[in-house]
Each structure stands twice: as C-alpha cells, then as structure tokens.
C-alpha cells in the first residue's frame, strides 16, 4: 500500500506442464477447482444470505402454522411509517459522524505522540493499545460502572469539583454521547497501530529537508506527513465506517436502546425486530436497507476518495 512494489505475480506455468492433462477444457476445470473452496465460502456466507434476505423482505413473517406469503413492498411501507426506524437511522448518522472523525483524530494524535522520542514510550504504546484487546462486552461493562450515577468513576471525579450527580445513561441528552465515547475509546488504539506503522515508513530525509528549508512542525505535518498518510487514512476510514454500523454490543449491555430509543442504532434495532419480536421478514427489510447503505458508502469511498489520494 505504501509504495510497495506490486507483488511478484506467479508466472503462468509453461504449457508443457499441463499438456499431459489434455484439452483446454481440463485447464478450465482445473482453474475452477482451484477457485472452488474460496467461491463456496463466499457464496455460502456472503452472497446467498444477502440474496435470501432480499427475497425474504418481500414476504410476510411465517408464524407457527401460518407460512410466509408474498406481500410485495408491504414491509418497506411499514418501514417508512415506522418512527423507531427513522429514529435509529438518525441516531446512527449522529453516531457515525461523531465516532469516525473523533476516532481518526485521536488515533492520529496518539500515533504522532508515541512516534516521537518521549519518555515511557513502550508504556504509552501499551496503554493506548489495551482497549483494543478487550472484548466490547467487557469494555461496556467497565464503562457501565464509570457512568453509574453517584458512585461511578465519572461522577466521583466530577464530585471533586462539587458537581451534582448525573444520570449519564438515563438522560436522553447524554446517553448517545456516552456510547460514542465508549466507541472512540475502544477503536482509537486499533487505528493508532496503522498510523504508527505508516509514520515509520516515512523517510526521515523529508523531515531533515523540511527543517533545512525552515518549515514549521505544523506546516510539515499539514503539507508532508498528512498527505503521505492518506492511504492509511482511507483504510482506517473504511474500517471506522463499517465499525460504526457493525458494533452494537455496548448498546445491548449499557442501554438496550433506551431511554425511549435515543440510543437505538440500526443494527441493534434489526436484532430487536429479528430476535425479540421474531418479525423476521421486517428484520430482513431493515437489513436490506443497511446493506444498501453500507454498499453506497463503500463505493463512494473507493470511487471518489481513492482518486484523490496520492500513493507514493
């Protein structure tokens, strides 16, 4: 990715080797057989479920002895009229647009900090990376304690400044913000590793040359370091976007989407509809929306951003 030469492509085997096998057909079969293991996995776990989900979204939910019947766009109409869906979508937009830039900024800042020569570097690296190692469920349980009103860590710290107790997760104004903080805390360390690796690829000569020219540190970062990090930023961005739609474990532990759906994200709502209400058809409909949304985001990132990035 960072200007690495294209991997040496395996040379096609000389004709003589498979001539023994006979016709060109055999060559094709041989090729397809080599592809088969990967193709089977891809079809079974990615393409088939996606297509089946799309089909299910046009049918009603089978219940007991009543089978599924074709209902056309009924499920989609229900969805457009469902206030909780819109709420979840809106929450997810707020969540993603806060978590993604904050995580990336924090990851970059931490990487820059521990890339320099400072005291206690290994310790800092370890502590920045620790949240990534923990499973999300454990993280959510730790933070649940941080947020508990009165005797939680956060309230205890604020208590030093004589502040009143806060019902962090029970207040509709702060609940989503609390979850955003957890997600940022959890993911920043992971993305930091990528930035750190990229930073160490940048040639020190550039810094020396810039110093000779009299460029300030901020100028150097803005005009040299950051553009050189762009390929990494794209990679991190793609992952951050996926994570912001994919990780809902902390919601299950901390708020169950409450109070009054203020912390319901799209995937959490899909889980609720699918495995609490057992309305599988409607869950499939919501899943289709999520799929389309993610596909559009990914396409946009690759088609638009990728062109503007300078690869060394």
């Amino acid at each position: 990715m960072h200007g690495v030469e294209p991997l040496a492509v395996a040379q096609p085997p000389p004709q003589a080797q498979y001539a023994r096998g006979g016709s060109a057909l055999a060559v094709h079969i041989y090729g397809w057989l080599l592809l088969l293991p990967a193709a089977v996995l891809l079809v079974a776990f990615t393409h088939y479920p996606a297509v089946q989900t799309l089909i299910d979204s046009f049918y009603s939910t089978p219940r007991g002895r009543r089978g599924a019947v074709f209902v056309g766009l009924d499920n989609y109409q229900t969805m457009l009229a469902d206030p909780v869906f819109w709420r979840a979508l809106q929450n997810n937009v707020v969540y993603a647009t806060s978590v993604i830039p904050l995580t990336i900024a924090l990851a970059l800042a931490m990487a820059l900090l521990i890339n320099g020569k400072i005291a206690g570097r290994p310790f800092l690296r370890l502590s920045f990376f620790t949240p990534t190692v923990l499973p999300m469920i454990a993280v959510a349980n730790i933070w649940l304690f941080f947020y508990s009103p009165g005797y939680g860590l956060l309230d205890q710290i604020l208590g030093l400044f004589d502040s009143s107790t806060h019902n962090w997760l029970g207040d509709e104004h702060t609940a989503l913000g609390c979850l955003i903080a957890v997600a940022v805390w959890k993911d920043a360390g992971f993305f930091m590793i990528f930035y750190l690796a990229a930073l160490q690829q940048i040639s020190p000569q550039l810094a020396e040359a810039a110093a000779l020219e009299g460029a300030g540190r901020w100028y150097f970062f803005r005009r040299v370091t950051f553009p050189l990090l762009m390929p990494t930023t794209l990679f991190v961005l793609v992952n951050a976007v996926i994570n912001s739609f994919r990780l809902v474990d902390h919601i299950v532990v901390m708020t169950q989407g409450g109070p009054d759906n203020t912390t319901a994200l799209l995937l959490f709502y899909i889980y609720e509809v699918g495995f609490k209400f057992w309305d599988t058809a409607y869950a499939a409909t919501l899943t289709v929306v999520l799929l389309v949304l993610l596909a559009c985001l990914a396409l946009g990132q690759f088609l638009i951003l990728d062109r503007r990035i300078h690869y060394q």
Binding site: R65, S163, N167, G170, E172, P259, D260
Partner: protein
Amino acid sequence: MFCTKVKWLAAIAAVALVALATGIMTSAATAKDIVLSFYYPVAVGGPITKIIDGYVADFEKENPGIKINAIYAGTYQDTLTKALTAFKSGEPPDIAVLLSTDMFTLIDEDAITPFDDLLKTDADKTWAKSFFPAFMENSQTGGKTWGIPFQRSTIVMFWNKDAFKDAGLDPDKAPDTWDELVADGGKLTKRDASGNVSQWGIEIPSTGFPYWLFQGLTTADDVRLMNQAGTTTYFDKPGVVQALQYWVDLSRKYKIQPEGTIEWGTTPKDFFERKTAIMWTSTGNLTNVRANAKFPFGVAMLPAHQGRGSPTGGGNFYLFKKMANEERDAAFKFVKWMTTPERAADWGIATGYVAVRPDAWDTSKMKKYVADFPAAAVARDQLKYAVAELSTHDNQRVTKALNDGLQAALTGTKTPQQAMTDAQQEAARILKPYQ
C-alpha cells in the same frame, strides 16, 4: 505431489472414521438414558446456577435413566431468544423456564405443548390445581394450562430502617399510601446547601422492563392494562395516565427520585450504598438484599391509592413440542419434581422468589424460615391483591410500545398523556391482526 495428496486423503479419511466411531459410541451410551435439555435464565442476584445444578443432580439420583442437561442461558430475554432460535432450527430444548408473559408468543409460534394432556392420574390433576391462583392467571388461556409456575415473584418495597430513623420517621412503619410515600420520601431525601442529593427518597427502576414496575402503580390506581385474551390494551385510560403522572412527579415535582431512567440492575446496589432509602424491586432479590444490606431493612407491600396491588412476575416451566412420548413423560416428571411443596419451599428460601403453592408455606422448613424472617411472607400476603403481568399477543412488541412511552415521560420528552396516547395507538396497530 501425488504422494502428499494421498497422505492428505488418508488423514482426512482417518479423522472422518474416528468422528463416525465416536458418534456411534456416544449414541450407544445414551441409547438407554433419556436425555433432556433444560434452559433456564437468571434474573436476580445469588448463586442461582449452583442451586439449579444441585436440584438436577438430586433428580438424576432419584430417577436413574433420565439425564437433564441444565443450561444457563442468560437473562429471560436471552433464554427466550435461544430457545426460539433452537426451536426454529429444529432442535428445541425439551424444558425451559421462560417468562410467564411469553405464553402468547410461544403459542403463536406453535412451540409449546399444554400440560392438560399429561394430567392422567388424579394425583396429577390435584397437582395442577395446587398453585396460587394469582400465578395461574398468566399460565392459562383458552381453557388450557401452558405454563407451570416456578420462579414467580411480585414487586415489593424495601426500606432502610436506619435512614428512616435518621429522618425522624418510625423505622418500623413503611409508607402505606401514595401520599405517605411522597411525605416520607421528602424527609428521606438528603440535600446539601447547593442542592446536591446524597440520598434519594425512593427509586422505582425504569430500564429493562419498566412496564412491570408501572403495573405496581396502575394496579394501585385500580386500572388494568390489558384484557384476559391478550388482544386489547388500555394504555390511554385516565387511571393509567394518572399513575404515570405520579411516577413522573416523584422525580420532577416532589424531587424525591432521580430524574431520567433508573437502571434496574444497579438499583439494589444504590440501596446497599444508601443512595436511596426506599426501592421497589422483585421479591426475587430478597435473599440478595438480606445478604448484602449492611443495615436493618424492612419489606412492605406496595403503597395503596384507589386500591392496592402488584403484578405477578417471573418464570414458568414450559414443555416444548417435538418430544417423543417417553421424553415428554420424563420432562413432566421433572417439572412435577421441581414443584413439590418441599422443593418450592426450598427454592423460595434460597432465592426469595415466592413459593408457588400454598402448601409449601405449611412445610416445617418454611414455617421456621418465616418465623425467623417475617419479611419473607410479605410477598405471599400481597398475592391476594396481585394481578396478571402485562401479556398480549406479539407481547415483546406491545411491551416495547409501552416501555418507550414510559421512558419518554420519565425523561421528559413527552407528557404522560401524550406518551400513553402514542403507546396505545402503537399497541392497537400491532394487535389489529389478532382482533
């Protein structure tokens, strides 16, 4: 190259053979025994899994030839999800303890079998009638018995006697009406000069299943939330709105309860830490409170308003379909064994759940326990006033409509009237196909 391929093939074949042989051997070993899977949830504090494992071991000892795989499956919600997922994949558990309110859901999914066909002897028929009628309300519909009460509870009020003494109140008398609760709560709430609260008067939890605690208020206001058939709800009746107004007022008008939603799971901890002087919670927490409260505490029935009362709650035994006859008989035997008067008494003492049948309270063990710890009998006495827990068709969804409304009112996004009108509208929409 070919040589390697052959080796690989041989290795795979060997692994397959071993797997096959093990499979045959295990099935041969279990052919004699009837093996039943049993899913159960844990919803209160204490070493519940250890107690259940102990029962299962005792049952297996007394009934050779029957093996019970007791599987702790998480919260009630997790357990239902796991049981239904397993059911849909064709491998349901044989026995499960699930919320009594999941009855309609399980019937609609065609997942469970009623107990009526299994009641062959007179002893069986007497057994089926031996439970408190209040617990059977959520266990029977359409003239059939679908669930057998096991870990059942009601809501009770715990109070910290030291806090009452400090506030100049009689430590042995809990508030008995809504007005007294407000008056006592005001004295119990401790504020410093700048208005920060170090101890609240009361906490009624409002996450997870706020509708259940809300029923403690609506029942006292003498209104019901749904009809017996589970097809209509009454969320926007004036009495219901009034009850919600009172709940909201505890926080916003009288300022004796924290604002916003209150976490169900940490409420007992708040009580132990003296963050709240009074809490409402399940009787199932009784043993937990007894073990962890570092101060004398009391247990009382919920305060009265127009009337008195609490919803029942908790879990029933269900038998899933797709069992062979002898498996079903074995499962039935296990359910009967778990609900004998002695076991019901033992389970009640170990956890705090209400022993589910009157004759359990006549056992010598239970009599001694109650004499020693009178608080344990409060929940039983409250059963006279108990009503069925909210349960309808498509229950989870209807319940969510109400929960969302309650939380919206408690956080101040909607007025109680608006919240309940919206919840009723949503519930009516969901229940339309069942009319």
